[in-house]
Symmetry: C2
Subunit: 335 residues, 2 copies
């Protein structure tokens, strides 16, 4: 990250034909990418989005509105191009990869899904640790390896999405342990749990955090106790992207829980993270605040899949087009 290029890009913004600051966050994104890419005119030519999928044993407790088989059904929908993130990737020319980190339903038959299953879904973390330390390391490594593959192919902006019925529950518990906040306040409807079902979800998660809390004295232990395979993979991907110098555009609630984990494991990751959108899921605000993050969009989305990052990528494109394509006052003969 280059302070010199940040200043040069900021100086360019202040010479463009507009009042200084009049493009708001669009200016800040361009300047941040200039600092990360170490050039006055940053560009993104090979954006990549990886959807990591995994299942969650805690769904046995009735915390989700959808049956677990939907995880793999949606993987099929990703590779067939019918899911939201697939539509957005097509619209914007974002490369899309889909990785099985551990689903309950077998999915080897799905052409186009990268197979890296650690286990057939996590254990029910209301009763026991979601995964062993070795399984957590394996899942973290999946994300790192995907970023290494994309880096070799020239990826210059990385996004991660997730699919896994029950994973707002895992993200809420992980956020509660990492933030040391009450899990109930961090728990929302996810895919659509409401009323009595939401109260039940909150009770299950409160009991899960109460079970895990005495066993957790590090961020990695929080992941092992209440995390998910796809959350671990996203965390590993974010850390490796930062190490390899690839800017990251973070998606919503679940991806931000993984981002906070990555930053707690390695604070140097933070400056490589741009934040795509503010989710309607209530726990997202607390995570964003802990990361001092100001997302680009706020459209009331709560889908996951990386869909919020993909929408925000459109704003990144606009920010770069403006930064690189606008005339300066001198070029326009003004002033």
């Amino acid at each position: 990250v280059s302070e010199s290029f940040r200043q040069q890009a900021l100086a360019r913004q202040n010479q463009l034909t507009k009042p200084p600051g009049a493009l708001g966050q669009l200016e800040q994104v361009a300047v941040q990418l200039a600092a990360l890419q170490q050039r006055v005119k940053p560009a993104v030519q090979n954006p990549q989005l990886v959807v990591f999928a995994g299942d969650h044993g805690v769904v046995a407790q009735g915390v989700s509105a959808f049956p677990q088989a939907v995880t793999v059904a949606m993987l099929s929908n990703f590779v067939a191009g019918g899911a939201a993130v697939a539509v957005l990737a097509r619209l914007h020319g974002i490369g899309l990869s889909v990785v099985n980190c551990g689903t309950v339903t077998p999915c080897e038959h799905l052409a186009g899904v990268i197979q890296c299953p650690v286990m057939p879904g996590t254990q029910d973390f209301s009763q026991q640790p979601a995964m062993s330390p070795a399984q957590a390391q394996q899942a973290l490594r999946i994300g790192a390896e995907q970023v290494e593959r994309l880096h070799a192919e020239g990826c210059d902006l990385f996004m991660a999405g997730e699919m896994g019925i029950g994973n707002t529950s895992a993200a809420s518990c992980l956020a509660a342990l990492l933030l040391q906040q009450d899990v109930v306040a961090l728990t929302g409807p996810g895919t659509g749990v409401q009323g009595a079902a939401l109260s039940h979800k909150q009770q299950v998660l409160a009991a899960s955090v109460a079970r895990a809390q005495p066993l957790v004295s590090s961020p990695l232990q929080a992941l092992e106790q209440v995390g998910g395979l796809e959350l671990a993979a996203m965390c590993g991907a974010f850390m490796r992207a930062a190490q390899l110098g690839i800017p990251v555009l973070v998606d919503g609630f679940i991806a931000t829980a993984s981002a906070l984990l990555a930053v707690q494991l390695n604070p140097g990751v933070r400056e490589w993270l741009l934040f795509g959108h503010r989710s309607a899921e209530p726990g997202h605000a607390a995570l964003l605040q802990a990361l001092a993050a100001e997302p680009l969009i706020q459209l009331g989305m709560r889908l996951g899949e990386g869909s919020g990052a993909a929408v925000a990528y459109g704003v990144v494109q606009q920010a770069l087009a403006l930064h690189n394509g606008m005339a300066t006052f001198a070029e326009a003969g003004i002033g």
Copy 2:
């Protein structure tokens, strides 16, 4: 506007492979466009943005950070492609027109600027009416004629922008009279007036509204007393777009003042208006509230030119791509 197509589009949204409502405002935009275009799968194939320009006599009172000659200098920048809105129009394939409604500096030499000058800038509305009733009608007609031209060319989404040094002052006074609110609370930095200069701007505008108030008993009289030629043209354009059945994507503070005027003149205009962005200019919030408008983006922009609408057009594209391109649960073989 078709309630039947609204319901059909909503039904489609609820069959797409996502939890109902999980795409937030992206769903609402698509459904609204379906109702306006009277088809289940709406589309925008010929988006057009017109920048209306005019000067303001009130700048003699020292209310702007930029000299008046910048208005025409920026018109040159629009047609040369170096201005923010020109960059965004190019990025998104939005047709861009630039119309002189009345600048102080002559600009007949600028190829590509449509010439419809009403007068060489408005009168200083701190001292006298900005324009006569006949001049206001002529300026309203400019906007209507541009929309008629674009309608004949197949325009299916209309955006308006403005350029005119001093026009946040006109918009603040117009908003104060239309909303019957204190002009000081509706007055912000515009292109960058701060500190003592902002206090001075607020005093000038408070005196202007105090002068005009007793003379105003209709929205049109408010326009004549404290409006601007480009504000009138935008108002005329919005009204004609609604009459011709063209959905409108409204820009920021100044365009929203014109939109409120249009809605007060003809309440039927309201349902044709989508709102692009929430400006950093403080008066915008009051205008949006009066119109019960929920803009798509909030990036701290305060540039005008139609730049906020052009950024929001990217979100409209995404909303339509998702609505039309996502698989239904039945198509994906889920559930």
